[in-house]
Amino acid sequence: MTYDFSYGPNTPYARAVALVDRHHTSGQVVVDLGCGYGAIAEPIRALGLTYLGVDADPSGVKALIDRGSEAIIGDLSRPAELVAGLELALGQRPVAAICMLDVIEHLVNTDEILEALRDFALASGSPPLIVSIPNVTHLDLAIKLLMGHWDVTPTGLLDATHVRFFSDRHLTITMQHAGWHQVDWNDFELPASDQYFPVDAVPLQRNTVVGALLARLREISGYGALVNQFVRAYVPNASTPSDVEHQPETDAPFLSVMVRTQGKRPVTLQETLLSLAAQTCGDFEVLLLAHDVEPEAVQIIGQLVSEFHPSFSQRVRTIEVNGGGRARPLNVGARQARGRYIAMLDDDDVVLGHWVEEFKAAGLRAPGRVLRIGVAVQKVLGRSGIWAGQDGYDVKSKPFCPYPLRFDYVEHLYENRTPNNGYAVPRSVITDLNQLWDESLAVLEDWEYLLRTAALCGVESCPTVGALVRGWIDTENSLTLHPPEEWEQTRRSVIANRDREPLLMDYGSTSRIRDILQSEEEALRAKFELEREILRLRAELESTRTTLQGSLEGAEARLQDVLQSTSWRMTRVFRTVTGLLRRRNSAKGI
């Protein structure tokens, strides 16, 4: 089938021509393979280049010739003949660029033709190859698939004649395998592709909850959610890499433990490493993230590790990280981790002997979920030089468990109830969903990350205490280094970010929210009742006061009457004598 697509300023063809303009060699001729009716012929000639169209369909070739362009018949299914025909048509003229626009997806012999073209290009001054290929991972297609649709159309993303389908990654691998190295890209985006139908489909509508969720999932999973056409430029590569398709790692450990250190606490770091070395389950690796550590301290860290038995020390890699805040080393480490899950420790954390074992058991019970374990806190007071000259600490309290053993997402929306060493995330959230720590946060980066990943994965709780946090007394920490206003502002920012997307919540969340609302309603009702009761009591008090006041005034009035009466005045003399006698006897003690 020969397509007669028109050329326009905001089209994939225009973007392809822009790449030709950027990358053509000093050669003369742009070869347009599978040219159809030559949509780019005039724009290419407008660049001052010579256009040579090649197509198997004579009608397209004739149309080009009629328009004054050069064109030949050529069959991409026969690479050797095609190349011979090109060489004949080109003569001594050097090639400036090769274009294959909306072609590759129609070819069953993709690898063969690409390799033949690579060889041709290497022998022809290494002109770039410009391609335009539909993106089968466009959001619309992804949603349609989830809806159970596969709507083949005459043209477009699911053109009836397409025999190859490309994602960004698959295109890269295909081209690399055939000896083409990408040097530029100018992809064409369409928020609503030709697959955006039926237009009233709720999952396709971005402003519905499910539509927004699906769009967000596609967006975070990788490049190209809205890319309709990959428009790329490649140069020929003399060597081709060995098979670059994904090879699952067969000896990957269950867990990667990232230990973050600034090299300032070698004593507690040694204890962190000791608690890891003593784990009942050895199915883990350690990434010791030395963040902005001085060279001498890096050496000390290396020495600490090497002193352990090789069965442990050989599982520890030290990675130096420079710059950035608290989240930077986590992101660096996460990208180098090999484990199926990733956990984090600071260099003053210790874990109990079954920490890895419990995580692993939870990972088997509920694969793909964030794994969470109980954490206890123990108050300690740092002291300098108290342990044979080393800095040490005094333990000041028994361990106490301020955090619930079972994870509750709703509670965590209010505040973080899970220390860093209390959870492990599936590495897939990083490799497949691109969920890294937010490096813009100076504090609360761990809470923010947990909220994000827990919403995506759900959480599996281990019903045991597996880690210990040192609660340092009188020591500088993030609480003291950052003012309360910064904490509050960051907290609000984290919640505001959560509010910008629909919220996924785990099984049972409906009842949990309902319970909270019910408690709130009961509290409000109780408040109302108490306020009413207080008003009533106040009124009663006022009424009683009024009554008593009246009685008091009445009694006082009657007293005055008595004092003003004739009989009272007449008996005054007797009361005076009686009073004198009483006072005299009282003084004598009678």
Binding site: L274, T280, Q314, L352, V395, T464, V465
Partner: protein
């Protein structure tokens, strides 16, 4: 002429310990001993594993070596007791063949820090010190110690280093009274009665695999109920605190736990006849009894 570094026997008593745990234990002490040898702090080291399990953990000819070996031990011995001797009896059996200058008594559920042996040996540099205990992680023992000289009431059998001379002086542990608990308290106090000091050295770290309940209480092993109750009474009795012994018995008599009541009945009979254990430390020079503990505690792991 420099004095050669002391020689060492590392010993533990297994009881249904799984093989991976034993390997982990051996690897850690191998690394700690190797480092101590590199720093010339220790000479020859023997490793002795006693086994109180119902059936042998290691078959004849089986090796505990792993690909990460070899180990720095001159001799490695495995002794199957074919009986459950408990902690005290088991260690005493291993003391029988003690030829080295120092002996490191450890639980099998421990993991040595690389500098453990170096630090413990440093703790015995003072000739008055007979035993030095390590600091346990992640759950440190709450008993107090002198921050300057490390003196402490008693050394925990989870991990302490003692001079072989101390073992000879006091005859090791006393399994006739203490099967699993307070054997280490008794060892320390008898050592003190012999004039030895017992110290705590916080820079000597050992990981001791303990678990916590969700209220921060250390979870007890299966034998604790019986043996700790028994040991509490007998320790008080031995150290001339008969008043305390009877008081504990009165409490056990009324405990809701039937094991406590059973222990109380049995001990009452024992203490009331001629088989009652002899009593020592009549002047209470070394023993300490504070609110159910054998030292002043900085904090408590028990419920508030």
């Amino acid at each position: 002429m420099t004095t050669p570094p002391p020689s060492l026997q590392v010993q533990t008593v297994l009881y249904d310990t799984d093989l991976p745990s034993v390997r982990r234990f051996v690897e850690s002490f191998a690394a700690a001993c190797a480092l101590a040898q590199r720093e010339d702090k220790v000479g020859n080291v023997d490793l002795v594993l006693g086994d109180s399990s119902n059936s042998p953990l290691v078959e004849e000819g089986q090796t505990l070596d792993t690909p990460e070996g070899p180990y720095p031990f001159e001799n490695t011995r495995y002794v199957f007791f074919d009986a459950n001797l408990g902690s005290a009896g088991g260690h005493n059996r291993l003391f029988d063949a003690l030829q080295r200058d120092f002996v490191l008594v450890v639980n099998p559920d421990t993991y040595a820090s690389p500098h453990l042996v170096v630090e413990l040996i440093a703790g015995l540099e003072d000739p008055s010190v007979g035993a030095v205990e390590a600091r346990q992680l992640p759950l440190e023992h709450p008993k107090s110690h002198d921050p300057v000289n490390g003196d402490t009431s008693w050394a925990s059998g989870a991990c302490f280093l003692a001079r072989a001379q101390v073992v000879r002086d006091i005859g090791g542990f006393d399994p006739s009274l203490f099967f699993l608990y307070c054997d280490d308290v008794d060892f320390s106090w008898r050592a003190k009665l012999h004039g030895w000091r017992v110290v705590h050295r916080p820079s000597a770290r050992v990981f001791h695999d303990k678990r916590l309940s969700d209220s921060g209480i250390i979870l007890a092993g299966t034998g604790e109920v019986r043996y700790s109750a028994e040991a509490a009474v007998l320790l008080a009795w031995r150290y001339s605190r008969a008043d305390l012994a009877w008081q504990i018995l009165d409490t056990l008599d009324t405990s809701p736990n039937p094991v406590h009541r059973e222990v109380a009945a049995s001990l009452r009979l024992r203490l009331q006849n001629s088989a009652a254990p002899s009593q020592i430390d009549a002047e209470h020079r070394v023993s300490q009894f504070h609110k159910g503990e054998y030292a002043i505690h900085r904090f408590s792991y028990a419920d508030d």
